[in-house]
């Protein structure tokens, strides 16, 4: 029973106000579309990856709704199959990044003395290292990547800024009366962090998570677009790399449907992330909400 109640109260506190926001709702609808596409799309439109050069760069037709690529493979089916891996290397890095940011951020804000200062120093140093170039630098050491490896090397460059925000929040909460009361009652660090601080931190962590999703999407697409790593060929970034750099479809006027379709899907999904991120920010930032 208490499990259901927790879910319900989480729904009331986080999801309901977000859905009430029109932007967030529009974004969530876009994201739902892509999640459904990722889940059932590959079964509806199976993919044959055998090349057939007689079908190179075909224009859209009933058989190939978005045309074909250099190898004569259906572009639409590739995009549909790529949705899964695209969503995976977007959500998994954001999740890892959120866990890192939350634990390091709370520790840096709550622990005083030298360990706390060291943690804050590490956060500051990671913040000064530009994340995208650093991500590319690490990627250059691998020949190929899988979803988990890629997610970790993206997450390493995502957590610092959010950790800083969370640490600052913890620092300001620490001097509040209810935390002081809990400390005087000697309720223990575990209780203070999870029962006293966490409820107040959740909206911030949620905003950071949503922002990290957006950042992880951009980072993974950019990285794959440069073609530094061998990865799933239906990932949209890899597809775009093949379209632009490997097959030269960009410079063949009748082939533009191929790169253009990939771009349209990328923009649409990114729009979904942006809408959710602004909607969430508005929902939990009362100053922006006031004038809606």
């Amino acid at each position: 029973m208490s499990g259901i109640e927790t879910i319900k109260s989480a729904y009331d506190t986080y999801l309901r106000p977000v859905i009430k926001n029109r932007k967030a709702l529009a974004g969530l609808l876009i994201l739902t579309f892509f999640v459904v596409l990722a889940l059932i799309g590959p079964y509806i439109w199976p993919l044959q990856m055998e090349s057939d050069f007689s079908k190179r760069f075909l224009p859209p037709s009933r058989e190939h709704p978005l045309g074909t690529d250099y190898f004569g493979i259906d572009v639409f089916r590739q995009i549909v199959h790529g949705t899964r891996v695209v969503l995976a290397v977007t959500f998994l890095p954001a999740l890892i990044g959120t866990i890192l940011a939350t634990s390091i951020g709370i520790a840096a804000g709550y622990i005083g003395g030298i360990p706390g200062r060291v943690l804050n120093g590490i956060i500051d140093i990671f913040m000064t290292i530009p994340s995208f170039p650093a991500l590319l630098l690490m990627a250059a050491f691998f020949r190929e990547a899988n979803i988990v490896l890629l997610s970790f090397i993206i997450a390493i460059w995502l957590w610092a800024q959010p950790a800083k925000t969370i640490a600052a929040q913890v620092l300001s909460l620490r001097s509040m009366e209810f935390v002081e009361a809990a400390e005087i009652l000697e309720l223990g660090k575990f209780h203070i962090i999870f029962k006293e601080l966490m409820p107040h931190l959740m909206p911030y962590i949620f905003i950071q998570f949503v922002n990290m999703i957006r950042a992880a999407f951009g980072a993974s697409q950019g990285l794959m677009f440069l073609g530094l790593l061998k990865f799933n060929p239906t990932h949209w970034g890899v597809m775009l790399n093949i379209a632009v750099y490997q097959s030269g479809a960009l410079y063949v006027p009748y082939a533009i449907f191929y790169p253009l379709s990939i771009l349209v899907f990328m923009i649409l999904l990114l729009l979904g992330f942006v809408l959710v991120s602004y909607g969430v920010e508005e929902t939990f930032n009362p100053r922006l909400r006031k004038y809606e």
Binding site: K23, G121, D124, I125, F126, T128, I129, P130, F132, P133, A134, L136, L137, M138, A139, A140, F141, F142, R143, I156, G218, Q221, G222, F225, L226, G227, L228, L240, V244, L250, Y251, P253, I256, P259, L260, L263, M266, I267, L270, L271, V274, L275, Y278, R287, L288, K290, Y291
Partner: protein, 330 residues
């Protein structure tokens, strides 16, 4: 600003530079794979020599010797760095310092124009939207800000190449100037350079413009709700005075910081747009170096990118007290 503050900031600049480079060094050397091993295979085929000889050659040209302990490599790396020696590029067989010196001006050129344009337009549109919040102007700015946020530089770059470049032939699709021109200080060359910069500048500006627009709007909307703005209105000050002096100025402050920081990030941020246009700036060279696993060039450019970010931060910390009296008093 006193000497002690200046000294403290300078010290923290060097400490951060050292720490950031050390962390990068450690991460890079903990990575699996031996770049010398890969390069040795390349040398073996190219020069027809035995693997042992090729491996020795590769280790020398990369200054990368996995048989040495980590701390020895670390001291060697910093020794070279302090002497300003970034090594020799494998791809270009030229000193990394030279390649960087050649590419930096191109990136500064396109990236700073893009930054200034998007900043000016963004601040103007954002503050107008906030001032007339709820109006049509506001919704137009907000809506276009959200849509433009979904157009990262490489997507804009590819769209520009497809439509303005290939389909209509309005803008050039590669390079920094026409190949048949000799670089020189003459009108023909300068217009050609400007013409080639249009694509990269637009590509770099779209997402950034959206960021400044929405950032300025949100800052100004928050400030309009402050008591001092209400009080100014009650005192009967003109709307235009309140908009300019009471709202725009404080709302601008955080954006000026972010503009200065973005100036530092411009070398790293231009990688994707520059490589679509094959624009020979530092970002394009970085992508080339990464693609060919040219480690000396990769590390050299990365060092430049980090240094630029830290320099920008240093400038912000030194200049900020001059423009924000609230910080000065502390």
């Amino acid at each position: 600003m006193d000497g002690k503050y200046l000294l403290k900031r300078l010290a923290s600049f060097f400490i951060f530079l050292w720490a950031a480079l050390t962390i990068t060094f450690i991460l890079v050397h903990l990575m699996p794979g031996d770049p010398a091993y890969m390069l040795a295979h390349q040398y073996m085929q190219n020069y027809g020599i035995s693997f042992e000889d090729a491996y020795q050659m590769a280790k020398a040209s990369l200054s990368w010797d996995p048989t040495k302990p980590l701390w020895v490599r670390y001291i060697e790396y910093f020794g070279n760095l302090v002497r300003g020696n970034l090594g020799t590029s494998i791809l270009y067989e030229q000193s990394v310092n030279q390649i960087i010196a050649k590419s930096i001006p191109w990136t500064i050129f396109v990236a700073s124009i893009s930054l200034l344009l998007s900043f000016m337009f963004g601040v103007y549109l954002g503050s107008n939207a906030a001032w007339r919040r709820g109006s049509k102007v506001d919704s137009a700015v907000f809506f276009s800000g959200i849509v433009l946020s979904s157009f990262p530089s490489f997507i804009v770059a590819i769209l520009l190449v497809i439509f303005l470049g290939v389909k209509f032939g309005i803008i050039p699709i590669g390079g920094a100037y026409s190949e048949d021109l000799v670089p020189g200080f003459n009108l023909r060359f300068i217009t050609d350079v400007l013409y080639h910069a249009i694509g990269p500048i637009i590509a770099l500006s779209v997402e950034r413009l959206a960021g400044y627009m929405l950032g300025m709007r949100n800052n100004a909307v928050s400030i309009i709700q402050e008591d001092f703005v209400n009080f100014a209105a009650m005192r009967g000050l003109k709307d235009s005075t309140i908009a300019k002096k009471y709202v725009r100025r404080p709302a601008l402050l955080p954006l000026i910081t972010s503009l200065a920081i973005s100036l530092g990030f411009m070398f790293g941020g231009a990688t994707l747009a520059e490589s679509v246009f094959r624009y020979p700036g530092i970002g394009y060279q970085y992508a080339q170096a990464l693609g060919t696993r040219d480690y000396p060039l990769i590390m050299g450019i990365f060092t430049v990118i980090i240094t630029a970010v830290l320099l920008a931060t240093l400038v912000v910390e030194l200049v900020y007290p001059l423009i924000d009296p609230r910080v000065r008093e502390k």
